[in-house]
Amino acid sequence: MTLRTIVWKEIWQRPSAVATCVLAILLGVAALVAIRHVTVFAEREVGRQLQTLGANILVLPKAASLQDYYSADQNGMTLPEEHVSQIMLAGLTGVEKLSPRLCVPAALEGAELTLVGILPQAEFQTKEAWQTVTLFQKKAHVGCKKASCGPKPEDSSPEALATQRTIEQLRDHEIVVGADVGQQLRLKPGMSVDLLGDKFQILAVLPPTGTVDDGRIFAHLHIVQKLAKSGEVVSAIEVMGCCEDAAGDLVPQLAELLPDSRVVTISQVVQTQVGVNRLMARSSLFVLVVLVLVGGISVASAISSNVRERRREIGTLMALGATPRFISGLFLLKAAWLGLAGGVGGCIVGVALAVWLGPQWAGVAISPLLDLAAIATVVALTITLLAAYWPARQAARLDPCTCFQEV
């Protein structure tokens, strides 16, 4: 028989009495953990996008709306392909690569998907030479200061499209298949498929990117334009800046160069997400406050009620020689276990919720963050102990003579 045993047996005497308490803490912790998980991963995703795409700019049709960077080219509107040449000819500082894209709907083996026409970088070779002319032009600005005589650090394999968002070489009747399409239709490099009434050979299947590109097929832009009968248009032009500094200056220059287009940066794209993340971070703070209040009040009330119910028992224990510390320990230990149960249970539920709903709420995959769960549990524990402190102290100061009170 120990203090622990007494508390444990007392809890299990009437588990329903503590269930409400535990539930209040559990729900609060679950909400807190779920929101924090989604917030953390959403912020990481934003950070990752800013890091990988931070220097990227999208040139879109004027009226295009923008929810997500990766599917920005699926806006259903187009702009002239000649804008690409205009950007190259303008010799703007900081333009490293251009990637014009045209998205058209297509079907492959009964599966509806998006066929994306992209221009391989090899076709820009001639255009890059255009920039030489600006060296000796009497113009106020110079072209990109970067000397392109060094080796490109990027991978020139077709699979590099997944990470670099450009492809070096892609012949007329070659296609590159997104990871999900490849898996779903069991497509492999070398296979031949029919798209929009023409035969194509699969050059490569991309590794998963976690973006809409996984569900797409990529072909040469001009072939797609021809097959879709769209004319010399593109859905979007992705401008890869060499760094964020240069990209920042590029935006107004591009806007001036292409007044009939909409120029957006990844920062603007993620602005909404940043706002949502900020809101979620504040929400998690709000939930914490609610947890403290509701959970704390619930625990304080439950422990106070428990003290009142057990007055005779407390008096008896004092008569038997229990110290005030022992008496308060009975209630603090009980509160600690309630807090621990609520905290651990809440973490499990919260993590499960986040893993399940995170991809739907924020479009990010979520994995459990053990340190976050640990912190949430500690917070729950602290709240319950603080809430139980006063009732426990009151119990320790009870008049022991209650043991002599007649029933």
């Binding site: 007392e10 008096g315 004092m318």
Partner: protein, 230 residues
């Protein structure tokens, strides 16, 4: 063993004072068996609480041996109760969610005895009071008499030298009453000091000395009684 010096306990309630106890000088020698008789509300429980170190007097001092009880701290008094005093309650005051053996283990737990030793001693005590087969029964699964015997076993757990009993036979039938009173006789013979508060005349006759308490005032019952022959 017990000595009360000009002790009084006064409660103030709603602007008026209530004198719950008044004992100018009261001595209860070591090894004596004292019955305190009085009607309900006469101050019996107040006196018992004061003797048990659980209720400090408004005036005066209470001595247990050469220790002034209320000059000790709360923790020291608790320790004193653990080591020297055993209580027997009218309503047994068993912890409802603990089994018989666990109830008896409580004082042993409070005194820091290891768990295994606690069980062994508790089981032995329950066997002594004839409840060897009821170790794992909860109080709700025991009869009134059995509950009182569990309470007795608990009282004896730490081998107290003083027993303070509050109406120990109040809720018992004749047979159970006899068992309890026989137990007290046995403890008395072993040298234990027993102070029993009761309004049961039969129980009171078992004691060596009978005191009367009325409106808080303690006085001998029918004058001083000669000590009973052992």
């Amino acid at each position: 063993m017990f000595r009360l010096e000009n002790v009084s306990k006064i409660y103030s309630r709603r602007g008026s004072e209530v004198r719950a106890l008044c004992a100018d000088s009261l001595e209860i020698p070591t090894g004596s068996y004292v019955a305190i008789v009085g009607p309900s509300g006469s101050g019996k429980s107040t006196l018992l609480s004061m003797l048990g170190g659980m209720l400090s007097p408004t005036l005066g001092r209470v001595w247990l041996g050469d220790v002034s009880l209320y000059d000790l701290s709360v923790v020291e008094r608790a320790r004193l109760r653990r080591e020297k005093i055993g209580f027997v309650f009218q309503t047994f005051n068993l912890v409802p969610y603990l089994t018989a053996v666990e109830n008896v283990q409580i004082p042993l737990c409070l005194s820091g005895m290891p768990s295994d030793d606690q069980f062994a001693r508790a089981a032995a005590l329950l066997e002594r009071v004839g409840l060897a087969e009821r170790l794992n029964h909860r109080p709700s699964e025991l009869s009134i008499g059995q509950q009182q015997r569990v309470a007795l076993a608990r009282t004896l757990a730490n081998s107290p030298s003083v027993i303070l009993a509050d109406e120990p036979t109040g809720n018992l039938d004749a047979e159970s009453r006899r068992v309890v009173l026989d137990f007290f006789d046995e403890l008395h013979r072993d040298g234990c000091t027993i102070v029993m508060v009761t309004h049961d005349a039969i129980a009171a006759e078992k004691a060596d000395r009978q005191l009367s308490i009325s409106n808080g005032a303690v006085s001998p019952l029918f004058g001083e009684q000669p000590a009973k022959a052992a």
